[in-house]
Symmetry: C2
Subunit: 438 residues, 2 copies
């Protein structure tokens, strides 16, 4: 295999929702009460919904910028690449990056909708608007090319009847995944170990729907202190999902629903073999008093059967693919966030798969994602049309411009302030200020 022959599916990207998203899917009062897009006198965008205010473009949508501005927070859709909010422009950017297909999480409601619909006081309205959100995601965004966008729906988990109904509704539209908080207790719902969730597990299993748990959607990714240089937080953020991974690994529903599938989005992979070995040790060493429910299997076996982990750039993990399980690892791009290697993903990825067989390269670049997400990009496209080489040739023919740009935004240090390490406190202050602008 050559770099240009890879077919790359990204199982974790992001959308900055466009202003008109609800217009085609709602009318009358339902449209009037839907989340509303606004622009301040200074040009900053934001959304309002049921008394709440939400920033528009989503955390750190800085793809395509000069590196000096990765830490600056875009305040309007004008400061981000069009591919953040326009699916046709996104396809162009995917082509330039050699990405065959992409699963996307939203921004205004958080990765799982919990910051918008779950917090809304009027849950009848929230259900109407969450459904419209899914309609837009599936019928507008993904339908732009259903072979190249993998649908991932929100669920109204504050109501289990509505959740089951929504699972069946989106499944009928061809959607094969949902995004959930990795820790529902953080939004006031029962823990995943509570019987509250039983109808959802059943409906997900029966409809062959995969659960995506994105880092930062529940358990904290802690900053040690406000004075800690921000690189510390960047480096530990993916691994913060270990708390959620351990929690979900104990889920007894995995024993009752052997087909339940879970993707740990933006998890990284290199720490996972340690985590599995440690989970096995903890179980073997403590099961005499913990009464945990692994019923003769090892935690690592349960994990390798149900969980897929994802990587952006993770040479150590790929070197140890056998300890991870070669069927449960997938690539992710994280467009348009600052870790995203756009438009150079193929170069980075090719470099890190050098020790692997072609079979394994195919698994981690697309086959595992296809199987875990019950997704087929080759319905209307031949394989050779979706390779890195073919997509980039198309981008070149279409004149997709990938030149790094400078578009500004909120900055972590004050203008004119002497150069010093940017801290967690600086970033939190920047985010707070930005929220106040909105």
């Amino acid at each position: 295999m050559k770099m240009d022959d890879m077919v790359i599916i990204s199982v974790d990207d992001h959308i900055s929702e466009p202003p008109d998203m609800f217009e085609k899917h709602l009318q009358g009062d339902a449209l009037a009460t839907a989340p509303q897009f606004h622009t301040t006198a200074d040009g900053a965008n934001y959304w309002t919904y049921q008394g709440m205010t939400m920033t528009s473009v989503g955390l750190n949508a800085v793809v395509g910028r000069v590196p000096e501005e990765y830490g600056m927070e875009p305040q309007s859709l004008e400061q981000v690449r069009k591919g953040c909010y326009d699916p046709r422009a996104r396809l162009d950017d995917m082509n330039a990056n050699g990405i065959a297909a992409s699963l996307n999480f939203g921004s205004i409601g958080g990765f799982d909708g919990s910051r918008c619909f779950h917090m809304a006081p009027d849950k009848d309205l929230a259900l109407i608007h969450l459904r419209a959100y899914n309609d837009w995601h599936i019928k507008d965004w993904c339908a732009t090319d259903p072979d190249r966008f993998i649908a991932c729906a929100l669920l109204p988990t504050w109501d289990m009847d509505a959740t089951v109904a929504e699972i069946e509704r989106v499944a009928a539209m061809g959607c094969t995944s949902v995004t959930l908080t990795e820790n529902p207790t953080k939004i006031g719902l029962p823990s995943i170990h509570n019987e509250y969730w039983e109808p959802m597990w059943k409906a997900l299993a029966e409809n062959d729907i995969t659960i995506c748990l994105h880092i930062g959607s529940g358990n904290a990714a802690p900053h040690a202190s406000l004075e800690t240089p921000i690189e510390a937080w960047i480096s530990t953020m993916p691994m913060s999902i270990a708390v959620g991974a351990a929690d979900w690994l104990q889920l007894s529903a995995l024993q009752r629903y052997p087909d339940l599938k879970i993707i740990l989005s933006e998890s990284g992979i290199g720490w996972v073999p340690y985590f599995l070995e440690r989970s096995d040790f903890a179980h073997e060493r403590h099961k005499a008093w913990t009464n945990s429910g692994f019923e003769g299997t090892k935690p690592s076996e349960v994990f390798r059967k149900h969980f897929m982990t994802c990587f952006i750039d993770d040479a150590f993990g790929l070197k140890n693919l056998e300890d991870l399980g070669e069927d449960m690892v997938a690539y992710e791009c994280d467009y348009p966030h600052s870790d995203c290697l756009w438009p150079e993903v193929p170069e980075w990825l090719w470099d890190s798969v050098q020790g692997l067989t072609d079979t394994r390269i195919d698994k981690i670049t697309h086959l595992n994602a296809m199987r875990m997400l019950n997704f087929n990009p080759f319905k209307h496209h031949k394989r050779e049309e979706l390779t890195v080489g073919a997509l980039r040739a198309k981008a070149a023919a279409d004149g997709v411009d990938v030149t790094p740009i400078s578009t500004g935004g909120a900055a972590p240090l004050a203008e004119g302030e002497a150069k010093r390490p940017v801290t967690s406190g600086d970033i939190m202050a920047m985010m707070k200020k930005q929220a106040e602008v909105a």
Copy 2:
């Protein structure tokens, strides 16, 4: 090499402090106001100090029990092995386990003293008693056999002048390490990035004193929910130090004091190569705006120069020793806590070092610990007297009894309650109840 030829130093064990610890080191008012040991009518032990109450035996001092009782919390010194509080009995237990030397953390004040002396309202008294604590640790516990106990002092970090004085005082007594919270902001002190700490870095570097940061001494080891089976927490607890590791890796004092040495106690090792790779990625990708202070070096280089990580049982980490750095990994026993493999450490360890050269086995079993802690167990003992085989022969000759015992204690489930998975909530309730007994 054979299993019996290994020389094993453990860089992380624990003491349940004996009732008479302050008597030889204080008198008069100073003794009368020192932490006091008590026994309830039911036989439970506890300590009081300046209005605070502390449980006596320390978290989970269950070594030597039957596995069914690993989750039961000892309430008195009568329920734990004598080796928890008596240094001569500890040497017997080390012999039976083939352990040549051991570094110990205390219990009543937390691993770093912060739960006792740092919380005390009268800091003049706290300084007197902290110093007496160090006197006892160095002159009583460690002096029982200074070739086999590695001293590790507490520091009065609420006062930098007193801290510098105490560093110099314990260094003069031959102590070569101190234990600190991994996150001082949790006890109301400035972050490690604050200039407040400058005198301490200087004094530690000048006196060649190594810093030990024990998991759970600062940053949280989170429970996902109260309903989460406790095995989840057990499995993620060591890795919770990643937040602290990332914080300390950014410490600018490491650039100013090239000899500063840090041990991440009970960290585990298998996740560390991922963490280093991720830290390098975060730095390379973001340095254009983070202004972080690595001055041309990689974070992983700084880590491998200054930080030692430790393992209890960690085959994946040892398999990847080259990615860790073979000079910065050490064994730890964790006696008397429930992960401790006593009295079978040599068997477990030997099994996991099978892929390593004799040189590397020597490094991770004792040479790295000796170098990092400036400690020499061979001053009064020949090497062949401190091997697994020699120590176990001595234990056998001395008749050290290692038969698993049942001694009870507080239990996570109510008596007669049906068998079900023990949860985080159960353990927290057990600890709360135990604190109320005290």
